[in-house]
Amino acid sequence: MKIEINTLIPDLHFLKGMDISAFDAFYIGFPFCRKFEGNLSEIPEDMEFSISYLKDKGKRVYLTTYATPLTRDLDSIIESVERAVQYGIDAVEVHNYGVLRMINRNFPSLRIHMGSFANIYTDATVIKLKEYGVKRVTPNYELRIDEIEYIRDKSGMEVELLLHGKIPIGISESCFSLEIAEKTGKLCPEACKQAVVLRRDGWVLRNMGTLMLSGKDMCMIEHLNMINKAGFSIFRINGFSENPAYIGSVCRIYREALEEMLSGGIYKREWKEELYKYSTDGFCNGFYFGKSGRLYVDAMGNIHE
């Protein structure tokens, strides 16, 4: 089975700071805030450079689009898609149904991937979305793994899974970084580049301006046998809120682990130990086991806070 591991590259700084070699494909742009400094979906020359750079290296490139667009944002979204199509993009990621309708109307043959903020929860939704040119979906992260399997099997749609990294768990029109600007002294565009973390007893959330992320990193390394058996083959690793230097290594570990286990190899503890070095607040499994997103379920089924 041919696998794809992809990640999101928000800006050129991130692209230049990372090792892209282990990845197959990239989403470019920052879908959570249009004003994010260096946002690849907003700056034509940076978009053009990143697409041609990645394509030269034999990678697939997908443009991501703003997740919560108001009417006033629509024109520039369509312009940015048009540009990306000219630069040879392989697909566009969409989180909003209005944007889906508009892109499908303007570019009927363009491949569309529906992202996690589109709230895809059911097979009937996916079947309906086929009428709009959708070729891949990321079901909402709140789904249990067997729900995702069911959706994939019933709809015949390509399905993408988050394997590792922080989980987006809230998006707002208001920027938290700006709310606390009087305390940090940072305004737009530097404000959201600070590592802002919300803590309460054992709980932790990570904030990036308009986006709230899980404080813990989702880590599925112990469960790759299950993932492989279920037949999933398209995976995302999130690292856009972290130091770009780590993400290439994280991907390499997963690629090695997926390939070894697909060919009958056994789980190695050092994979998880290595990944742990890159995490600041520990691991969780999100919602794949039908439990609170912050919990970690190990391969034996034991639950860890």
């Binding site: 149904y97 059911t122 009937a124 729900e147 998006i171 919300l198 709980w203």
Partner: protein, 314 residues
């Protein structure tokens, strides 16, 4: 004529709000709406309320605004057949797939898109119209201009929440509660209540309203709750009435029946007075009258919030 839509968190509340001036009432189908089971109604209670409303010439809408498990569709359609035979006036929905199936099997049934759809722009409105939705609950954070544009250019009706409190995240785009506590829990009919997930019909623990320690680059700099603001306040509501919004909805299935009744009485007379004497209307008097009600409401809300957070505190 503008419709006043009121909450029916219990059978008693549903009847009381209709008696006290609501044109219609919305009720959650147990396990299938954005509130916990104690504020949703069983089939036989819905039947009772529908009969009651019909006698008064009023309407009942059923909230089915959760994001279910794909495998729960058959349970829902058995229920829907029954609801239709009772004569319900429409559904309030969120899931695109469920909407499209309902539209296919019941082409005449009225479907309103829930606030949980988070419909943000006019292309979004166009998409939901293509799904067969005839009215859209406005996301609270949208401005007047957006709704004005929708009124001028788009067909679906507009519903606004009177004094709608809204969270830091866009409604329908938040998983902070289920990140902290999420449990799969089935009722006797086989419906998963997804405890802890507001989008899936479990309760929201409102963890955003807890005081968080804010750390920036590993240094604690502040301590605060996430923003929670109210929209469609009285002074703006008159503008929306002038614009011609179709429905004003009062939230509050979780409040006491007494409070729900008082809110209905207030907004009923507010709307009627404003519509009948726009030029001579004195907003100030009404704002003063509302003040006490809002305090009452906030006190009930605060108690409920403390309770919801206490369910998940470590």
């Amino acid at each position: 004529m503008i419709e006043l839509l009121a909450p029916g968190g219990t059978k008693e509340m549903a009847k009381a709000v209709l008696i006290n001036g609501a044109d219609s009432v919305y009720i959650g189908l147990k396990g299938w709406s954005r509130r916990s089971a104690e504020f949703e109604l069983k089939d036989e209670e819905i039947e009772d309320v529908v009969k009651f409303a019909k006698k008064m010439g009023k309407k009942v809408r059923i909230g089915v605004n959760t994001l279910p498990d794909s495998r729960e569709f058959p349970i829902f359609f058995v229920k829907l057949d029954k609801l239709i035979s009772l004569g319900i006036d429409g559904l309030i929905m969120t899931d695109i797939g469920l909407i499209s199936r309902v539209r296919k099997y019941y082409p005449e049934l009225s479907i309103h898109a829930s606030v949980g759809c988070n419909i943000l722009n006019i292309e979004d409105v166009g998409f939901y119209e293509e799904m067969g939705v005839s009215q859209i609950v406005a996301e609270c954070k949208l401005g007047f201009d957006e709704l004005q544009m929708r009124k001028e250019r788009m067909r679906p009706g507009i519903e606004v929440l009177a004094h709608g409190n809204t969270c830091w995240s866009y409604l329908g785009k938040c998983w902070m509660s289920s990140y902290m506590n999420y449990q799969w829990h089935y009722d006797e009919e086989g419906k998963n209540h997804f405890v802890g997930s507001p989008n899936r019909g479990g309760l929201c623990h409102r963890v955003c309203l807890e005081k968080w320690r804010i750390c920036c680059n590993d240094i604690e700099i502040d301590s605060r709750r996430l923003r929670n603001e109210a929209f469609f306040l009285l002074e703006n509501l008159t503008k929306y009435i002038d614009l011609g919004v179709n429905t004003i909805k009062i939230q509050g299935r979780e409040y006491s029946t007494e409070l729900a009744v008082e809110m209905v009485r207030f907004y009923r007379s507010f709307i009627d007075s404003y519509v009948s004497m726009r030029e001579r209307f004195d907003l100030k008097l009404w704002a003063e009258r509302l003040e006490g009600l809002i305090k009452w409401r906030d006190a009930e809300r605060e108690r409920r919030t403390s309770y919801l957070i206490s369910l998940v505190k470590n």
